[in-house]
């Protein structure tokens, strides 16, 4: 009986351990610096919005360009569609919290595993950052400060920033997710009506190991309420 009570007492600790991100360097405690980096992880995007980008995806030396249409509703609901030169659908994906990413349309030969894997990872990495109150473990390795988050699907996501950031126009950092390293660069910031912070109009993400590079130029960003049904239909 005592043993089972002890187990019950330990259960929250065990669960806490399971749902906390892992430390990946020396603990780092400069709260001002950490707050600054957390704000940057949050990004400038509002809680719900529609966005349209022109995207060029390079994969093993081949390029594939399309217009991307994105709906996002935090926390965790999104829908992304890609359209070709003459308006035809290339693919459409949707995700809601607690459910796997769904492929809604895939008329061409693009592999489903690629869409639900790297393509969905890129959408979440760029447009659905961890929540402001998400548990984070901050550490330091060399000249980098690492913010480690644990997504609800169990994926550990690490944002690596150079501790000393120059006064550059572009913002660079690295994200480790699902065993892949993505180098992210945001630049060409501009004000958008209804959005508090300036938004990057040019985004470059590169996974050198997978020879994958995404370049996205913002065409339109509209903050506003989005009906739930858009993510389920």
């Amino acid at each position: 009986m005592k043993k089972s009570r002890l187990s019950l007492l330990l259960l929250p600790c065990l669960l806490g351990a399971c749902f906390a991100p892992r430390l990946t360097g020396i603990p780092f405690g400069d709260q001002v610096v950490v707050d600054g980096f957390r704000k940057r992880v949050q990004g400038p995007y509002p809680a719900a919005y529609r966005a349209q980008h022109r995207v060029t995806l390079s994969f093993y030396g081949r390029q594939f360009d399309f217009t991307g249409y994105l709906l996002v509703k935090r926390r965790g609901a999104w829908r992304a569609a890609a359209f070709g030169e003459f308006g035809g659908s290339l693919f459409e994906l949707a995700a809601v919290p607690g459910k796997a990413v769904r492929v809604i349309k895939k008329p061409g030969a693009i592999r489903k595993s690629w869409l639900t894997g790297p393509a969905a990872d890129l959408v979440e990495l760029l447009f659905l950052p961890p929540a402001a109150d998400a548990p984070v473990v901050v550490s330091k390795r060399g000249a980098s400060v690492i913010l480690a988050y644990l997504r609800k699907n169990g994926v550990q996501e690490e944002f690596r920033f150079a501790e000393e950031q120059g006064g550059e126009q572009a913002e660079r950092f690295t994200v480790l997710r699902n065993g892949a390293a993505y180098e992210v660069e945001y630049s060409d910031y501009a004000a958008v009506p209804g959005v508090e912070r300036k938004v990057p109009r040019h985004i470059v993400v590169e996974n050198k190991k997978a020879q994958l590079k995404l370049e996205a130029d913002l065409l339109k960003l509209e903050p506003g309420e989005l009906p739930e049904k858009l993510f389920y239909e």
Partner: protein
Amino acid sequence: MKKIFLLPLLALAGLFPAWTAHAADSSVSVRFSPAQQKEFLGKLEGNLKASRTLQARFVQEKHLLLFQDVLTSSGTFAFSVPSSLRWEITSPFHSLLIMNGRELAKYDYIKGQPRRLKLPVADALFEVFGQIAGLHQGKFSEQAGKYELAVYSGEPARLVLVPKNKKMRQFIPAIEMKFTPALDSVSSVRIREGESDYTLISFEDVRLNPELPAGLFAPEQK
């Protein structure tokens, strides 16, 4: 009686305008008989073939019914017989597609400078471009293997192409083409997708047989 109750629901769902537009279309549109269709297509083919070159502006609207949104782009289009085509989007982004005989080139623009893309699916794009070139020359018999053709009356008449391939029909149920009243060029193309979405490409300022600048269809752009 049930239909009366359904009407407000359709209106609330935002479907009413689309439904009434479709109904209005159908009420004035009658499918041509095989003999009328043959005569119409023959005349159209003769007129379209008379243009050795063509240049126009286009506006492309992608209508997304579920998202209640329209994505608009615009640019210029040029064609020269037998198979040179240039499709340049200038707004809201810049991209260029060129077909010159058997060569196909696609560019995007980085800070105003063209970058030639290495295409992973050049063959598919080449086929689409080939079909566009063929349709602008009135080569409808070439399409008859892949599409069921039907002409509907109206001002102007419209040509509807329905893919014969069942899988393709699932994604593109029909392509509708409208022509100028003189039947000498295409005025719009509507590509239906699924049950509701569609892309409408409207051509404006169409110039027939213009003298086109040398190098317009050169696959190497500087």
